[in-house]
Amino acid sequence: MSEGSVYVYGVLKAQAAKSVSSSGVASAPVRDVQHDGLAALVSTVEGGALAAAREVRAHWKVLEETSASATVLPVRFGTVLESEDAVRSTLLEPNAERLSSLLDELDGRVQLTVKGGYDEELLLRAVMREAPAIAAMNDDLRRLPQDAGYYGRIRLGEAVAAEVDRRREQDTGLALDRLAPLAAGSRSEALSAADAAFNLAFLVERDRIDGFSKAVAELAREFGERVTIRYVGPLPPYSFAEMELTGPGAKWD
């Protein structure tokens, strides 16, 4: 059973570990490896390469299933250790204290993600309306032939981008003002699309999700059609489990 490399999904308290019915990467069954009250979810990987994209999906499914009933610290996608023994001796044992205290801290809490997106047309119209200098630049450019306006267009685009950034900052601030007081923690994550307004991760007590949801709906009303909100969860605390783990030999480093 302990032969061969293992793929690692996440770490949780041993008493919370249950059998996982979702199959893992390369369709292998998921099991847990325990050490001193901690458990790591793993599955055997054969050969060297995991080249199929469905592995992302398998990773996600295993964590989704587990987090429905337990607090699990997700491990970054694509982590493989040498053997089951290595999971104990290099992951669980040397990091036991940090893992346990993070698990205690996150216990009973889930991640809820609130993403805001702009309607591009409404956003640009608002920029034009409220920044007369930009509107004037735009008017000037329209009078020029395409070729002549090249640098002008870059300057215009730059000015629009700066204005959009300023609005993002404002809207992110408003969302945090309304929601952060109802959460045990919050993180502002990188934006993945040009029309994104904000991407916020909140750590919320499981039994306070309803109250938080009300505040999200309230915030959406406040934004109106200017910002569309996507509200996703509950998720394992991905954004709150950022921690670099080292092996036993790396301590002097």
């Binding site: 199929a52 469905r54 250790l81 809820l112 993600t113 999200v216 998720l235 950022e242």
Partner: protein
């Protein structure tokens, strides 16, 4: 959850269970990181990560097109539906080279699973144009570099999965 989405006033009253597209960034970027000295490096993971990001970017683009097209009044020209639009938009230049891969990866990421199908109405657009672009990519795939062999292997594993 499709129902929750259909009622715009009530859809924020509880969080939506995640679709892979919603969480791909946190899966790829967040969570516990294990020191490179302990980790076994697997060829494929890094490329896979990049692939997954490209797919998300393309799904995002499809969504925008779908929304934009949704706002148009198509009654005047019913022959020019969404699949045709998608085709003409994505078949130019370098995009057509990567499309085979995208379609393959996308299907493994998003397709073949009822759970998302019911919840992600956004996937309708890519799935409709899928079959055509796949056949085109297989005929052009052999001439390109190493990464395309990886792509075709991912679509092979997909069809194997489908038949089992």
């Amino acid at each position: 959850m499709a129902i929750a989405q259909a009622t715009p006033r009530g859809y924020l009253e509880r969080p939506r269970p995640s679709g892979l597209a919603d969480v791909i960034d946190v899966i790829l970027d967040k969570g516990l990181v294990i020191d490179a000295y302990i980790r076994v490096s697997l060829i494929g993971i890094e490329i896979l990560t990049i692939d997954a990001r490209i797919v998300i970017a393309s799904v995002d683009t499809y969504l925008r097109f779908a929304e934009a097209v949704g706002r148009l009044d198509l009654r005047e020209d019913e022959s020019q539906g969404l699949p045709e639009l998608m085709e003409s938009v994505t078949s130019g230049g370098s995009k057509s080279k990567t499309q085979g891969a995208l379609e393959g990866v996308k299907e493994t990421l998003f397709g073949g699973d009822e759970e998302e199908e019911e919840e992600e109405e956004k996937e309708k657009a890519p799935s409709r144009s899928r079959s055509r672009s796949r056949s085109r990519s297989s005929s052009s795939g052999s001439s390109s570099s190493g990464s395309s062999s990886k792509r075709s292997s991912s679509s092979r594993s997909r069809s194997r999965k489908g038949s089992s």
